[in-house]
Subunit: 363 residues, 2 copies
């Protein structure tokens, strides 16, 4: 790279601190190994081939994806892909079946309709696709609602051509709880999971895989009885929400958006050129509100966002930036921010080291 | 186009109803003509060359842009471009100066720093760039704060090489108010604008251009004394926010996201495959909340969004969709939703007619 300085970048620009990424990968990989959990990171966070490759090198057993595009892009480096999303509709199924046959494919679903479509597509494509029955353990988003329904659907999976029953999958419902206050939620989750596994076992459908986990709940995954696999996404880069719930230290935030101060005309604030189209306007978990905070001055919050304007609240700082000064913002939610950028500027030792395409954007 | 049916699209997919677009353009064009206002649509909404070309054909005097990329892309069809955003930083200035010399360029700014950078860049590039002084009339985002500050900056513009003083620009502060309840805000805006123009006039700096307006305030722009130009963006496509404040009828919404129901496992809701990465998770203006509503069933709200999941609230309807059924969602804010899509699928008479690239995404 000819010019390794950040100064030459047009802002807003997405930055990834590779030193921090590597430390984050070491930590999760050691945790998974220590507790005998399979680590299958969700690549929706970064949508970037190079980061998926680093995760696999660091010990990931495979990757998780949510969209056809993610499946296609990540299949170029991964041989074991979990689509944690029901592939409904001919278009999605056709593209899924066109993935290289070397890829061991598993799909999560919660309905007979999704199962039947998948079975037909797999049979037509001459491949066997693994299925995890998605169960709802409190997220109230998707997932079958009771052990009885799980048994019914798992039985249907086991008797459908083209697919193979591999277990169950869930997404935890307590992702907004601080890590230290998750005791009750973890007990409830273990109890519900226990009842599910018992019912499935009783029906001769013992789940080989019990896949759960997320970044906010990551470091207590070993307390969930019966869990075999974790799927954290955010953890590789982290964000303000992760720091808010205690799933990472602020110094483990590896993603930020470089921005330039473009106006200081309104007293008490400074306006930067990273708005909702660079940071994503998502309410966060932090009780003090805001859409992000400055990496090097975490007391300075992004209080407002319009499309190309971010409003820095200067009420908690004596710092008064001038027009032209640059800052780095850690957004509330890294996944939706990365998704707004075509490329990630990768830093090593604070200098520009590489540029990676966010190749799996779109569907 | 070989296949004109929507069925072949992989969802989520961004749809534009061209019949409605044309009706929206006719209406705003007639309004501007009737009231002697210059119409300079903001292309940030659609970031699409074809839509900008339609706006110019319908009588737009030029286009408004916010980013270098928008300026570059829109310059391929427009000869008169207003950058309603301070170009701070060498990278942005260099790209701005590289626009074709046939383009009449005007820039809005609110600081001495931005002015000096622009003047140096313009002089170096051998071109003259128009400047509008951005003033704050209540938005509290950017803009000089008083008539005195406006005069000081306008005077600096008039004495800076490479630039030409062309007037003032503002963004209205009452965009969330219903159209019928804007009387007080319009009176206040007219009074503040009057004081500004009087101060500038007294200093020999009478603004040739007074540029304001937005979609939520569009149809009462003629009540703002002294206004010469309007810059509505959303109006060409409209969205749920526009309908909420009465700036458009629901039947004038020309943009929607086609989505597929992927889960009905949790009672009282249905989950679609358009989440925050397709609709954008923006709190809206509607008192009943939600992130969007179904085009054909506006009583059905998108109550929750995660990245690839949209949660349809079925409490206000007897309709119970099945997995695989397709719906069209009108998001709260069209600009941030369009920005998430690579292309727009254009419909004519309800059938697919063309595919347009959202070419000006990114910076």
């Amino acid at each position: 790279m000819d010019d390794t300085s950040l100064d030459s970048l047009v802002t807003p620009a997405a930055l990834v601190d590779l030193d921090r990424v590597e430390a984050n990968l070491l930590r999760v990989s050691a945790y998974a190994r220590e507790h005998g959990l399979r680590w299958r990171p969700h690549t929706k966070t970064h949508k970037t081939v190079e980061l998926a490759a680093l995760q696999l090198q660091a010990g990931a057993a495979g990757v998780t994806v949510a969209t056809p595009r993610e499946a296609e892009v990540m299949s170029t480096v991964a041989d074991d892909v979990l689509l944690a999303y029901p592939p409904v509709g001919t278009g999605r199924l056709t593209r899924l079946m066109a993935l290289p046959h070397r890829v061991r494919l598993t799909v999560a679903l919660d309905s007979r309709e999704a199962l039947e479509g998948l079975g037909r597509a797999a049979t037509g494509a001459g491949r066997t696709v693994g299925v995890l029955v998605e169960v709802d353990l409190g997220m109230r988003r998707v997932g079958v609602q009771s052990p009885e329904d799980a048994v019914t659907l798992a039985r249907a999976v086991a008797s459908t051509r083209g697919v193979e029953y591999r277990g169950i999958l869930f997404y935890p419902g307590h992702v907004r709880s601080p890590l230290a206050e998750q005791d009750a939620a973890l007990r409830e989750q273990s109890a519900r999971l226990g009842a599910l596994v018992e019912a499935l076992d009783g029906a001769g459908l013992k789940p080989g895989t019990v896949s759960g986990g997320s970044t906010p709940t990551l470091w207590r995954s070993h307390e969930v009885a019966g869990l075999t696999e974790i799927r954290p996404g955010i953890n590789v880069l982290n964000d303000r929400n992760s720091a808010s719930v205690g799933a990472c230290a602020w110094s483990e935030c590896a993603y930020s958006v470089l921005a330039t101060v473009v106006s200081t005309a309104v007293p008490g604030q400074a306006v930067i050129d990273a708005g909702s189209k660079a940071l994503a306007k998502e309410e966060g978990f932090a009780p003090e509100g805001g859409y992000g905070a400055l990496l090097d001055r975490p007391e300075v919050l992004v209080r407002g966002l319009s499309e190309e304007h971010g409003l820095l609240d200067l009420s908690a700082t004596a710092w008064r930036p001038r027009v032209g000064e640059r800052v780095r913002v850690v957004p509330n939610h890294v996944c939706t921010s990365v998704n707004l950028h075509e490329r990630l500027h990768v830093l090593r030792g604070g200098a520009r080291h590489a540029t990676w395409a966010v190749a799996a954007r779109g569907w």
